[in-house]
Symmetry: C2
Subunit: 197 residues, 2 copies
């Protein structure tokens, strides 16, 4: 898994614009002509890069879930021996970065999953479950008072909290990226702590 350094390909342009459009108006609400227009080509030209509209959504969702899980695993590996508290903070930080930097993707992630073909959906669900279970393990280490079902519920709820970023910018000014990230981080920790008691 080498890190990409070269310029963004046409394929990647398409994925990025498709993600934005899907997030804005829903998978069924966006036509292929629109996606094409967003990258400067028109309509069926997309079929030189993807076998179909479904494939774009599938690649996006699998990519998102995989990226989240991969990042979390890397953080676990890096935190080797650093303590569960630090690790949980690292996980939270990673999720917040994702939620703030890729809002359209976060939106898609829990909104359009049901539009996938069975095999793709199964794969995404599995990646998501692994991600959740990884969090649950760390959370229970930091907050031993939490039973497993409660911890899982708490993790899902905190995801809901962190994934609220698309709603934040709606009414105008949000207090800058750094401050928002800090606020979300504190709230997540506070929510977990309160879940334990």
């Amino acid at each position: 898994m080498a890190t990409r350094t070269d310029a963004p390909t046409r394929r990647e342009q398409i994925l990025k614009e498709a993600a934005r459009l899907f997030a804005e108006r829903g998978f069924h609400g966006v036509g292929v002509d629109e996606i094409g227009a967003a990258v400067g080509i028109s309509g069926p030209g997309l079929y030189r890069h993807f076998p179909g509209k479904d494939a774009m959504l599938a690649e996006l969702l699998v990519g998102i879930s995989g990226q989240l899980l991969t990042g979390a695993k890397r953080r676990v590996a890096e935190a080797d021996g650093g303590g569960a508290e630090r690790l949980l903070d690292s996980l939270i930080e990673g999720h917040i970065d994702f939620a703030l930097d890729d809002r359209p993707l976060i939106t898609l992630h829990d909104r359009e999953l049901d539009r996938l073909r069975d095999s793709d959906r199964k794969m995404v669900r599995q990646l998501q479950r692994q991600y959740v279970e990884l969090w649950v393990g760390v959370v229970r280490e930091v907050y031993p008072g939490l039973g497993e079902p409660a911890a899982r519920s708490a993790v899902h709820s905190v995801f809901g909290l962190l994934n609220s970023t698309p709603h934040l910018g709606r009414g105008g000014v949000l207090p800058g990226r750094g401050a928002t990230a800090e606020l979300l981080h504190r709230m997540a920790r506070g929510a977990f702590a309160a879940a334990e008691s």
Copy 2:
């Protein structure tokens, strides 16, 4: 505004089933024939009750937002002199009841807003904003350390937390309604408290 006591009308059946279907597969992903079949009539028979598919979604979303706001205002009135702490708990409880009892509606509420005609969307947005501002006022009374922008962000984030209920039942067992409600309530309070510090 008299409280309804009579049996559910056909209109209400339709709205309920439409909400469920829209939540499951998205507004554009559900056909009128499906909605009709879900209430035992077929296809165009719906047009005896609604002028169009859009109108169903509009009535659902306006109804949701209005119901949330109305309930919150009632709680404010009832808590007259009872203290801000108690009032905030009451607001949280009301929102949780809604999120647990009407999951499809909660899902629609922040997912299909953009499919509305401009006038309807404007109305929903206004109701939502009033609801948020009502919360912001109470939250800032309980947690005076919060500035207004931070309080607003915190409120949106806590909504994300509370509205995560549709994701909770996914993987099998959730620990019973009462316990879930309690957990969510504690986490919401914990998140607000941590936002203040």
